[in-house]
C-alpha cells in the first residue's frame, strides 16, 4: 500500500532564486502544485513584507474588476441585441474588439502593466458611458416627475376648489370672511413631489411651522420612480400646498427642499398646464430615444466585459497568489536573490528541478536557481503530512482527518476504513431492500455527478453528498450483503435456497426436513415467523458484534506494532505492544474462542449434558474462581488449566505495561547525564537513534511525570479493553432496532391495510409505509448507523494506534481553487 498506509516522505528544500526569476519560478511551481512553502517572514506584519506594493496594486486591479462585476449585476441579464449606433458607438466598439483579441488565452500571458492599462481604459470607457447615461436619466426622471406632478396638480386643483366650498360653508362666522377674502387673491401655492413615506412628515412639519396656516393636498403618482442614488424604484406622491403670504411661502419652500422634495413650477391656468404637459411629453419622448441608445451602448460594452471578466479575475487572482507566496521569501545577504523554503514529496524533486529550469530559461536568467535539501531531522521541525489519494479514498481520508491529521509517516487508518467502515455500518443497517435503495441513490449521484459537483460549491449539504459518494455506494453494497446474511428484504425473509424446516401437522412446531439439512447462506427464512426468532437473532448478533469488535481492536494493536517498528521504538514493543496484545487476547480473545467453539460443537451429541452451557458464567468464573470449572459447564478438556494460565497472563501483563518503561527511560537518561558530565561526547548521536523525538524530553526528565503518564495509559487500556468491547455491542443494538422498526412498519402499516377489506386502503397503506421507510429508516436510521460506525472507528479503533497530534497537513501552492472559481464565473 506504500503511499496509502504511510504519508509520503517529504523533504525540506531551500531555494536561492534570482530576483529576476522569482515570479516565473513561483508560477511554474504553482502549475505543478507540488511545493508547500514555509513562511520565512512570520514575524513581519502584513505591510512590512517585501512584495506588499505589488499585492496592493493587484488589490486595486481587483477593485476595478469588482466594479465591472457590480455594473454587470446591476444591468441584470443582458439582452442580445444588435443595434445601429452612431459614430461614437463604433469607436467604443473598436476598443472592445481589441480587448477581445488580446483576451482569453492572452490574458494569462500579457504583461501586468499592459493589463493594468487595459483595465483602466475599460473602466474609463464604462464610467463615461455610465455617467452619460446617468445624466440623461436624471434629466429624464426630472421631466417625468414634472409631468406627473403637473398632471396630478390639475386633479388636485379640481378637488381643492370643491373642498374649499365645502369647508367654507362649515366655517363659523368669524373666520369665514377671512377665507373668502383671500380666496383667489392672496392664496398662493407650491407643487412638487416627494417620497410617499415622507409626505406625512412633511405635512406635520409644515402644519406646525405655519401654525396651521396652510393647506396640503396630495395625490399618489401611479408609476414608481427610480431613485438614482439607490437605483431602486420608489413610490412618490405629488402634492400641492396652498398658503398665504410671501414669508410663509419662503419658509414652506425651504422646508420642502430640506426634506428632499422636488418643487416644480406649475401654472394655475388649465390651458397653460396642458401646454406644459404636452411640452414635457415631447421632451420625454425625445430623451427616451437618446437614453435607449446610450443604454444599449452600455449593455453592449458590458456584454463584452462579461465575456472576458472571468479570465481577468483568474489572472489577477493568480498573480495575487504568486505575490502572497513571494511575501514568504527572505532576502539573502547579497540582496541579489531571494531565499525560499518549501516542503515537497521526496520523489518529486526531479519534477521540481525541471520546473525551476524552465522558469529560469524563460526569463533568460543565466544563473540557475540553486536548491538544497535541508536536513530537518535534528531541528525539531515536523514535516507536513501528505497522502496521495484517489477520488475513491478521499471520503474515507476525510473521515480520518476530521478526527485528526496523521502524524508524519504514521500508519493511516483510512485504507482499513474503506472496508471496515461500510461493513460496520452495514451490520447495523443490514437489509437487502434498504441497501439496494441506498446503492441506487448513490448510482444516481454518480450519474448526475457534473451537476452535483457544481451545486456542491454553493451548498454545503450537497457537498457532503458529493464528497461522500463513494462511501454511500460502499455502504449500500455492504448493506445488501449483510441484508442477504440476515435474510431480510424490507423486513421480509426470502426463501432462496429452500428452507430446512417444515411445520408439523396441526401444530405450530417446526421440524427439520432431514437430519443434516443446513441452509446454505445466511439465516434460514423459517426463523422469521417463529416465537424464538428474537432470541435467536439477539444471541447471534450480540456474539457477532463482540467478535467483530475484538478482531478490529486486535488489528489496531497490531498496527501499533508496525508503528513502533517504523519509528524504531523498541521499548514500546516490549512494554506496550506485547502486554497489550496479551491482555486483550488472554481474556477477550479467549471469549471469542469460546463463542466460536460453542457454535461449532453439536450439543445434541454430547453425552451427559443436561442444561445448556452459559458462557457468561464461564467468563465470570474465569476471574472469580480461577482454575476451577463446574462439571456440567465444561466445554472442552483441560479447560480449567488453560483458564488459569490465561488468567495469570492477564494479570501479569498489567504490571508489565505499567512499571518497566518509566524505569528504563530514567536509567537511560541517567546514563546520558553521566556521559555528558564525564567527558565530551564524540559521537553524541548514538543515543538518539532509539528515540529521536524524545531528544528534548530527555534534557528535562521528570520521573514522576513519566510514571503518571504511563499509569494513565495503563489504566486507560485496561478499562478501555472492557468498555470498548462493550461499546461494540452497539452494533447489535442498532441492528436490532433497525430490523424491528422495519418489521413494525411492514406489519403494522402495510399488512394491516391489506387485512382491511376496503378498496383503496392498500394504496394508502403503501404510501404511508413508503414514506416512513424513507424518512425513518433511510434517512434517520442510516444517519444514526453512520454516526455509530464513525464513533467505533474514531474511538475504539483509532485509540489503539493512531496518534495524530501536532501534525500539519501538506497544502501545496497551486491554482486549483482559483481556476475552479473562474470556471464558476464562466458558467
Amino acid at each position: 500500500m506504500g503511499d496509502l498506509l504511510r504519508s509520503t516522505e517529504m523533504t525540506l528544500v531551500q531555494f536561492l532564486i534570482q530576483h529576476s526569476a522569482v515570479h516565473e519560478t513561483v508560477h511554474e511551481i504553482g502549475l505543478k502544485g507540488i511545493v508547500d512553502f514555509v513562511d520565512l517572514n512570520e514575524n513581519l506584519s502584513a505591510f512590512q513584507r517585501p512584495f506588499i506594493n505589488e499585492v496592493k496594486r493587484l488589490d486595486l486591479l481587483e477593485k476595478k474588476l469588482n466594479f465591472f462585476q457590480t455594473s454587470l449585476n446591476e444591468a441584470g441579464p443582458l439582452p442580445k441585441q444588435v443595434l445601429d449606433f452612431g459614430n461614437k458607438g463604433e469607436i467604443a466598439l473598436e476598443n472592445r474588439e481589441e480587448i477581445d483579441e488580446i483576451g482569453k488565452e492572452n490574458i494569462m500571458e500579457v504583461d501586468l502593466d499592459e493589463l493594468e492599462t487595459q483595465l483602466e481604459e475599460t473602466e474609463n470607457d464604462l464610467n463615461e458611458l455610465l455617467n452619460n447615461e446617468n445624466e440623461l436619466e436624471t434629466q429624464f426622471i426630472h421631466l417625468l416627475e414634472n409631468k406627473s406632478v403637473a398632471k396630478s396638480s390639475g386633479e388636485l386643483f379640481h378637488q381643492q376648489t370643491n373642498d374649499f366650498f365645502r369647508v367654507g360653508s362649515n366655517m363659523d362666522d368669524e373666520r369665514k370672511p377671512l377665507i373668502e377674502d383671500n380666496y383667489g387673491i392672496g392664496l398662493n401655492f407650491l407643487s412638487g413631489s416627494i417620497v410617499r413615506e415622507r409626505i406625512v412628515i412633511l405635512e406635520r412639519i409644515l402644519w406646525r411651522s405655519t401654525r396651521g396656516n396652510m393647506y396640503l393636498k396630495w395625490n399618489e403618482i401611479k408609476k414608481p420612480i427610480k431613485d438614482l442614488k439607490t437605483r431602486k424604484f420608489v413610490h412618490k406622491v405629488a402634492f400641492v400646498v396652498f398658503y398665504q403670504g410671501e414669508k410663509i411661502g419662503e419658509k414652506i419652500q425651504k422646508i420642502c427642499q430640506s426634506l428632499g422634495s422636488h418643487l416644480f413650477n406649475i401654472s394655475e391656468n388649465e390651458t397653460e398646464r396642458e401646454d406644459l404637459i404636452n411640452n414635457l411629453t415631447e421632451q420625454i419622448n425625445g430623451l427616451k430615444v437618446v437614453l435607449n441608445k446610450s443604454r444599449s451602448l452600455r449593455i453592449n460594452s458590458l456584454d463584452r466585459i462579461k465575456k472576458i471578466l472571468p479570465y481577468w479575475y483568474e489572472r489577477i487572482k493568480k498573480e495575487k497568489a504568486i505575490y502572497n507566496i513571494m511575501n514568504c521569501f527572505k532576502d539573502d545577504m547579497s540582496k541579489n536573490s531571494l531565499i525560499a523554503q518549501g516542503w515537497l514529496p521526496k520523489d518529486q524533486l526531479e519534477d521540481l528541478k525541471i520546473s525551476l529550469h524552465k522558469a529560469t530559461e524563460s526569463v533568460g536568467s543565466r544563473i540557475p536557481t540553486v536548491t538544497e535539501e535541508i536536513n530537518f531531522l535534528n531541528q525539531n521541525i515536523t514535516p507536513p503530512t501528505h497522502f496521495r489519494i484517489t477520488q475513491f479514498q478521499k471520503g474515507f481520508q476525510a473521515i480520518t482527518e476530521s478526527y485528526a491529521i496523521a502524524n508524519y509517516q504514521e500508519i493511516n487508518p483510512s485504507p482499513f476504513n474503506i472496508i471496515t467502515f461500510p461493513f460496520l455500518f452495514a451490520v447495523m443497517f443490514g437489509d437487502l431492500g434498504h441497501g439496494l435503495l441506498m446503492t441506487i441513490f448513490s448510482l444516481f449521484v454518480f450519474k448526475k455527478i457534473d451537476k452535483i459537483k457544481k451545486m456542491a460549491r454553493k451548498d454545503e449539504i450537497v457537498k457532503l453528498l458529493y464528497d461522500g459518494r463513494f462511501i454511500i455506494l460502499m455502504m449500500g453494497l455492504f448493506s445488501m450483503f449483510t441484508g442477504l446474511i440476515y435474510n431480510e428484504i424490507f423486513a421480509v425473509p426470502m426463501d432462496l435456497f429452500g428452507t430446512c424446516w417444515t411445520p408439523r401437522k396441526n401444530s405450530t412446531v417446526l421440524d427439520l426436513k432431514s437430519k443434516n439439512c443446513c441452509y446454505p447462506f445466511g439465516v434460514d427464512p423459517s426463523w422469521a415467523d417463529t416465537t424464538t426468532e428474537l432470541l435467536n437473532s439477539n444471541s447471534l448478533k450480540m456474539k457477532l458484534s463482540v467478535l467483530f469488535g475484538i478482531i478490529q481492536m486486535v488489528l489496531g494493536i497490531i498496527l501499533s506494532l508496525f508503528n513502533h517498528i517504523h519509528f524504531k521504538q523498541f521499548l514500546n514493543i516490549w512494554f506496550e505492544f506485547i502486554p497489550e496484545i496479551l491482555l486483550l487476547l488472554s481474556f477477550f480473545g479467549y471469549m471469542c474462542f469460546l463463542i466460536i467453539y460453542k457454535w461449532l460443537t453439536n450439543w445434541n451429541h454430547r453425552e451427559g449434558q443436561t442444561g445448556g452451557i452459559i458462557l457468561i458464567t464461564t467468563l465470570i468464573n474465569f476471574f472469580l474462581k480461577p482454575g476451577t470449572v463446574a462439571k456440567d459447564q465444561q466445554i472442552y478438556k483441560h479447560q480449567d488449566k488453560v483458564q488459569s494460565i490465561l488468567a495469570i497472563i492477564f494479570v501479569l501483563s498489567i504490571p508489565l505495561m505499567l512499571i518497566p518503561k518509566p524505569f528504563i527511560l530514567r536509567h537511560r537518561w541517567k546514563k546520558k547525564q553521566r556521559n555528558k558530565n564525564g567527558y565530551i561526547q564524540i559521537n553524541g548521536s548514538d543515543d538518539d537513534d532509539e528515540n529521536g523525538k524524545s531528544n528534548k524530553q530527555e534534557e528535562k526528565f521528570e520521573f514522576g511525570e513519566v510514571f503518571i503518564h504511563q499509569m494513565i495509559h495503563t489504566i486507560e487500556f485496561v478499562l478501555g479493553s472492557i468498555s470498548n468491547t462493550a461499546s461494540y455491542l452497539r452494533l447489535w443494538a442498532l441492528s436490532l432496532a433497525h430490523s424491528q422498526l422495519s418489521k413494525v412498519f411492514w406489519q403494522m402499516i402495510f399488512l394491516f391495510t391489506l387485512r382491511i377489506n376496503i378498496p383503496g386502503t392498500v394504496a394508502i397503506g403503501f404510501c404511508i409505509w413508503a414514506c416512513t421507510t424513507f424518512v425513518v429508516l433511510m434517512i434517520m436510521e442510516s444517519l444514526s448507523a453512520f454516526l455509530h460506525a464513525l464513533r467505533l472507528h474514531w474511538v475504539e479503533f483509532n485509540n489503539k494506534f493512531y496518534k495524530g497530534e501536532y501534525a500539519i497537513k501538506f497544502v501545496p501552492f497551486n491554482y486549483k481553487q482559483i481556476e475552479a472559481e473562474a470556471n464558476d464565473l464562466r458558467d
Binding site: 502584513a46 505591510f47 412639519i205 411651522s209 422646508i255 430640506s258 428632499g260
Partner: protein, 345 residues
Amino acid sequence: MLSFNIENGYYEAVVRGYRKSLLTSTDYGNLIQCETLDDVKLHLTGTTYGQFLANEPTPLDTTVIAEKCTEKLVDEFNYIHKQVVDPLSTFLDYITYGYMIDNIVYLISGTIHNSDLKELLKNCHPLGMFEEIEALSVSTNPSDLYDSVIVDLPLAPYFVDCLSKEDLNELNIEIILNTLYKAYLEDFYKFCEKIGGTTFEVMSELLRFEADRRTITITVNSFGTELRKDDKLKLFPTIGYLYPDGNNALAKAEDEDGVRAALENYNQYNKLFEETELDGEKSLEDFFFEMEVELNKASFERQFHYGVFYSFVKLKEQEIRNIVRISECISLDRRESLNQYVTLY
C-alpha cells in the same frame, strides 16, 4: 437576575463577542508603525474590520476611514437594537438620544453659519438620526425649533428649559446643548434607577462620571465668558459625584486654580489637573477618555446587566477615535504624536 437570560442572554453574549473584537494593544502597536493610510487599511483587514475598506478608492482619506468604522459600529448596534424587547430596547434608545442631541446642536450651529445642509447631514452621527432632521435647518429660534420638529422627538421634554432663549447665537447654542445634555443624563439616570439591580449599579457609576465630566468641561470652557454663576449652575447635571458641593464650588471658579481647589476633595478627579500639568502632551479630554475607558471596561466584569451595551458603544467609539487619530497623524506625517491613543485592551 434569574430571568435576565430569557430575554437578554443572547444579546449580552453578542455584545461580549463584539467586545472581544476590539483592537488590542498589539494591533495598535502595528498600526502606529504604518507608513501610509493604505498600510492602516491593510492592517485593519487582518482584524475584525475585515474588508470594510476594500472597495474604497485610493488614496484613502481619514474621513472615509472614520465613516466606515462608524458604519460598523452602527451595524453592530442596530443588529442588537432591532431585535431586543423592552426595557432593553428603551435602554438602547436612551443611548441614541445622546447622539441625537449632538446632531441637533451640530445642525443648528451649522445652519447659522450657512453651511451646506447635505454636508452637515453627512457629518451627523448615524446613531442619532431621525426622519425630520433636515427640517431643523429651517428654524431660526428655539421656540420655532421646538414647534416644528423637536416636539415629536423623545427629546422634547428636555428642550422645555431652552424655550426662553430668544435667538440662536453661538453662546445660546452651547447653552442649549448643555441644558439638553443635563436633562438627558438626569432622565437616563432616572430610567436606570427604575430598572434597578446591577444595571443601576453599573450605569449610575458611568452616568455620574459622565455628568461630572460635563460639569468640569463646562467650567473650563466657560472661563472668560459672560456666564454668571447661577447660569452655570443651571447647566451642571445634578447626578454626579460632585453634586451639590462640587457643583457649587465649580460654578464659582473663574480660572484653573479655582477648579483645582473645587476638586480637591474628590479623590478621583483631583489627580486630573496634576497630571495634565505634568504631562504637557495630554489634554484634560484625554484623561477623561482614559477614565471613561477604565470605567467601561469595568462594566464588562459584571454580568446580567444592561451597562455592557452602553459600555460597548462607548469603547467602540473610543476605538474609532483612536483609529482616526492615528490615521490623521499618519496622513499629516506627525509621527511624534502617533502614540496619543487610549489603549483599550
